[in-house]
Structure formats: C-alpha cells, structure tokens
C-alpha cells in the first residue's frame, strides 16, 4: 500500500508533480580495474612493437620481398586458395549428401554414409594426402572403369573386355600428384566432418516444418531442399566457417602428396636457401591472417543471409511489403 505512488486528484496536482521522479542523472560506477588493465596491456603491446621493429632478425624488407615472389603468390593462389575452395566445395556438397543419406530411412544409404564418415574421419590428413599421392602404385597396369570381374565373364561367356575407359599409371600419377589430388583428398576428409555438421543442422529443424511441407504435398526431396536445408544452414554456417579456416591452414599439408605449388612450401624453400627463416614465417603468417580475415567477413554475410526471419527485431523487407501493399491496395482491412 505504501508503495502506491501519490498520483491523481486535481487538488494535489501541483504537489504530486514535484514528487514524481524525473530524468535519471546518476553517477556511473567507476571501473578502476579497467584502467589498470589498459595500462598493463599498453606496456605489453609497446614491448611487442619494440621487438617487432627493432629486432633485425625480422628483416621486414625481406618479409615483403618474399611475399612478392611470383612462386609464393602462385602458391598462395593455387595451392592455398584454390585447394581450399575446391576441397570445401567437395566437402560441403559431399557432407550434405552424406547427412541426408545418414538420416534417410533407407538402411543401405545410412550405412554407407556411416562407414564413409568413420573411415575418413579416422585418418590424419597428412597420411591421407601422402597415400593419395602414392595411389598410382596400386594401378601399375592402369585403372579401368567397367564391369567388375570381366575377365571371368570373358573366360566363361567370351564377352571380351568390358571396359569403358582406362587411365594409364602415368596419367593417374599426374592426376593425383597435382592440386586435383589435394582437392580430392582434403575434400573427402572434409566431407566426413561436414556430414556431422550438416546432420546436426538438419536435426535442429523442428519436425513440424517437415510435416507442414509434406502436408502441402511436397515430396521428400522438395521438403529437404526448400524447407529443411535453408533452415539448417543457420546452424551449419558458423561451424563451417571454422572448417574453412582449418582447411586453409591444412593446405600446408599438400607437401604430403607432394604438391609444391603451395604457399608455405614456397616460403620455407626461400627461407632455407637464404637462411632467412623468421622473415618467411612472418610472411606466411601475414598471408594466412589476411585470408582468414576475408573469410570472417564472408561468414558474417552468410550468417545474415540464412538468419532471415529468425529473431523478431528485424524490419520487414521493404520491397516485399511495398509489393504487397500495391497488390492489395483495393482490399483494405475487413
């Protein structure tokens, strides 16, 4: 009762107007701890800058010279960026397919998906790439695509060789020894990780969504493509951003194949011939940091794109609203 504000009747208007609290102008809480932290960090940063700028071993002119070498730039573009892009495309597409297979009611599909994931997640990428590069040794007489065991069929029925096309061992070695081998090797490995991420994303979508889509008469694949996956992307994108940066760094494992058109190999090569190891490492760090920074920006926009409709603070899309208004201009409210 005593908490009731003394508002109301005209007779007391003057008095209550005085008592009604106005704008708050309070003294903010002081944070002396923050200033101490700022001071400590400022000193540490200054010490670090001192090290960077005065230590001659950094040899900054050499850092930029190394970064500007043609082989280094090419290694960055092909071995690092292109392989990252290719492996992630293989990985994301493959991962989503594997996740859909894994969740399908067909036990064969889900079993295949499980085995794939088990196999490729269990192998270190360096080992996988080294094996990929050496896989030509398995096919000394070349690799043919065709009917399996056709030599038995030939012996029994005289069908002859049933082969669509054949790659020679040299051709195989050229293929897997290039960045193509790197893209395939890293991509398959990535698909195994992406499968788990995509599966978590798909499972995060409310079951009612699938039922609503199916009640409209959409097929299973339409439902997946139009309704479930777009919503799953909201959950899939952030960890995929992590995967891309991890992949970017793992391209330095291409040496396992061995592919030498790659950033870190080229820089280390320069470093070991010139005995300027620290500068080339710094150059590599700068390249990787630049690339991951660009990726973070890309991720921001992707997250925004797939976050549409989630969270109520968003303003309606002006375009759609305007179109709707024009279309319904004659209607008005009921």
């Amino acid at each position: 009762m005593s908490a009731q504000p003394p508002v109301s009747a005209d007779g007391q208007a003057g008095a209550s107007a005085e008592e009604r609290p106005g704008r708050i102008e309070a003294v903010p809480v002081r944070h002396p701890g923050r200033w101490v932290a700022v001071a400590v960090i400022a000193v540490l940063v200054a010490m670090f800058l001192h090290l960077l700028l005065t230590n001659p071993v950094f040899n900054w002119p050499f850092v930029f010279e190394a970064m500007n070498q043609r082989v280094v730039i090419e290694g960055f573009i092909y071995g690092t960026l292109l392989v990252t892009l290719g492996a992630m495309v293989v990985g994301v597409v493959g991962g989503v397919i594997l996740a859909v297979m894994r969740l399908s009611p067909n036990p064969v599909l889900s079993g295949v998906s499980w085995v794939f994931t088990w196999f490729f997640r269990g192998i270190p990428r360096l080992v996988l790439l080294t094996f990929t590069g050496g896989i030509g040794a398995l096919f000394a007489t070349g690799l043919s695509i065709g009917v399996p065991f056709d030599f038995l069929l030939d012996r029994w029925f005289g069908t002859g060789e049933l082969r669509l096309f054949t790659l020679s061992q040299t051709e195989i070695n050229v293929l897997v020894g290039s960045i193509f081998g790197g893209i395939i090797g890293l991509g398959l490995s990535e698909a195994a990780y992406m499968a788990e991420i995509a599966r978590a994303g798909i499972l995060s979508v409310d079951r009612g969504q699938q039922e609503a889509a199916e009640a409209l008469g959409m097929t299973r694949s339409q439902t997946m493509r139009r309704i479930v996956l777009p919503q799953a992307m909201r959950v899939i994108v952030p960890p995929t951003g992590n995967e891309v940066t991890a992949m970017l760094k793992d391209t330095s494992l291409l040496i396992g194949i061995p592919v030498t058109a790659e950033l870190f190999f080229q820089l280390r090569n320069i470093g070991s011939t010139t005995y300027q190891l620290i500068p080339v490492f710094v150059a590599a760090i700068l390249y990787y940091l630049a690339a991951t920074s660009v990726l973070m920006v890309g991720q921001y926009f992707l997250e925004k794109r797939f976050g549409r409709g989630f969270g109520s603070r968003m303003a309606p899309k002006p375009k759609a609203a305007a179109g709707a208004g024009a279309g319904a201009a004659t209607g008005g409210a009921k």
Binding site: A213, E214, R226, F310, M314, P316, A320, A328
Partner: protein, 261 residues
C-alpha cells in the same frame, strides 16, 4: 461409385504406437461442404486420426477414402500395395492441414509461405501464385502483412497465414488440429472468424477443437471421441445440447466450467 459419394469415408481405422492402441476402429463420413467437429479429452486420439487422413501417420487397420480414392494404398490383384512417397505426396495436395503450432516456414515471409505450395507443388507461375496469395491473405485479413516474417506476426496472424497457406493448394478438404489452442484468449476470435467464413463458403472441414461454442454454431456434425473410439455423434444440438453418454456429459461439463473460470 455415385457422384454423391461422401468426400471422406473412414471405416474401422486402427492405429497403435508400439503396443499402445490409440485408435480402435474409427468410422467417419463427411459429405461435401460439411463441417465435422471432433471433440474429446486429451489423448483420445483426435490428432492421430486427423494425421492418418493425410498420411502423416500410417494406420494399421481399416480404410480411409478421400474423394473416392483409397488413402495411402492401392488395391491390385486383391492385395493392398503401399503407395510410393511420390504418390502419397500427390494425394496430400487435395488435403489442407492447419496445425496447432502453426508450423509456418520461418525463413519465408507470409507471402512466400502462401506461394510455396502453388509454385513448388502445383507448378503455378510465380506471378500467378503471388496474385492468388495476396487475394488469400486479404481474405484472412492480412494483406498488409504480406512482407512480414512469421516471427514478426502475432499468434493469431500466424495461424491465419497458415490457413491461407493451406487454402492456396485449393484443397477439397481442410483439416484443423486445435487451431486456436496455442493462442492467447483474445486472439482466438479472429481465427475462428476466418474458419466460420470458410464454412459458410462451403469448404469441407474436419476440425479438432475444444471450442464448444464454435462446434455448436458451425458444425454439421459433432463427433465425440474418447479412448480411441467414437463415443457419440450427431448434430450439435444432439451431442452438445442433449448428450446421451455419461462420458460426453462429463467432458462437456468440464469444458464449460474451464471456459467460464
């Protein structure tokens, strides 16, 4: 079959989840243009039965025909063959469903929610679908909300968009599963109003509801279910006005006291 066959005919529908029998032989007949309200206590199997009609749930016994076509199966050579997913999807086109929890697609605007079915399933062009959708949104009183995402709409508005989304498929039959149960009391009226208009326009509807007043005003037939069986059925005056069965009476008394509480 005669052209005057009922739109929906369910005979002896049985359904069990594991060992729990949830539907124990449901019969139902719905004529074209009729509104049937399903009433019954929680757990009596109303939702399950509704979901059987459009195959969101398979049933273990009995048959359901919609518009003369057997649902979910095909009779060939004296045996029943399960339909493929594709053909079940095709059967669902003619049956609209409105869910208790709306289930609007959150990544699409109200307009896109309504055009999705026509564009993807009926193969209507984008422009035509948009015109139809705007007309439907106007019909449910939401023409000014076409560009909003579901998260920007109230529950009542979302449910009206969901009704428009189902109507966009031009279904022969509309199923409603407690369309107002998830709504704040003051939003129930706007949704029931839309449903009353649909009924007046001759839409065939099966409505699971706890809104006794709605059933009384709109239904041609009221079916009271309990424990997986139909306990009583008849006109609203019969079932709601002068129930013969004890279970019906108990249920109605409880519903009314809850409503006036």
């Amino acid at each position: 079959m005669s052209p005057e066959q009922p739109l929906v005919r369910a005979l002896n529908v049985h359904k069990a989840f594991g060992h729990v029998e949830v539907l124990k032989g449901i019969d139902l007949q719905v004529e074209r243009g009729q509104v049937v309200c399903l009433l019954g206590p929680s757990g009596s199997g109303k939702t399950t039965f509704l979901r059987c009609i459009n195959q969101l749930e398979t049933f273990d016994g009995g048959r359901i025909w919609v518009d003369g076509k057997l649902i979910g199966y095909e009779e060939r050579g004296g045996r029943l063959h399960r339909l493929t997913d594709k053909r079940i999807a095709a059967q669902r086109r003619d049956i609209g469903m409105v869910f208790q929890r709306f289930n609007l697609f959150p990544h699409m605007t109200a307009l896109e929610n309504v055009t999705e079915g026509p564009c993807q399933v009926r193969g209507v062009s984008k422009r035509e679908a948009k015109l139809e959708a705007l007309a439907l949104l106007e019909r449910v009183g939401l023409s000014d909300r076409a560009g909003n995402y579901p998260s920007q709409l109230s529950g009542g508005q979302q449910q009206r968009v969901a009704i428009a989304r189902a109507l966009a498929m031009k279904p022969k039959l509309m199923l409603f599963d407690e369309p107002t149960s998830a709504l704040d009391p003051e939003l129930v009226g706007e949704v029931l109003e839309v449903m009353k208009e649909l009924a007046a326009e001759g839409t065939t509807m099966i409505v699971v509801t706890h809104e006794v007043a709605f059933a009384r005003d709109v239904a041609d037939e009221v079916v009271f279910m309990d424990g997986g069986v139909v306990v009583e059925r008849g006109t609203p005056a019969e079932v709601l006005g002068a129930p013969k069965e004890d279970r019906t009476r108990t249920f109605l008394t409880r519903m009314r006291s809850e409503h006036h509480a």
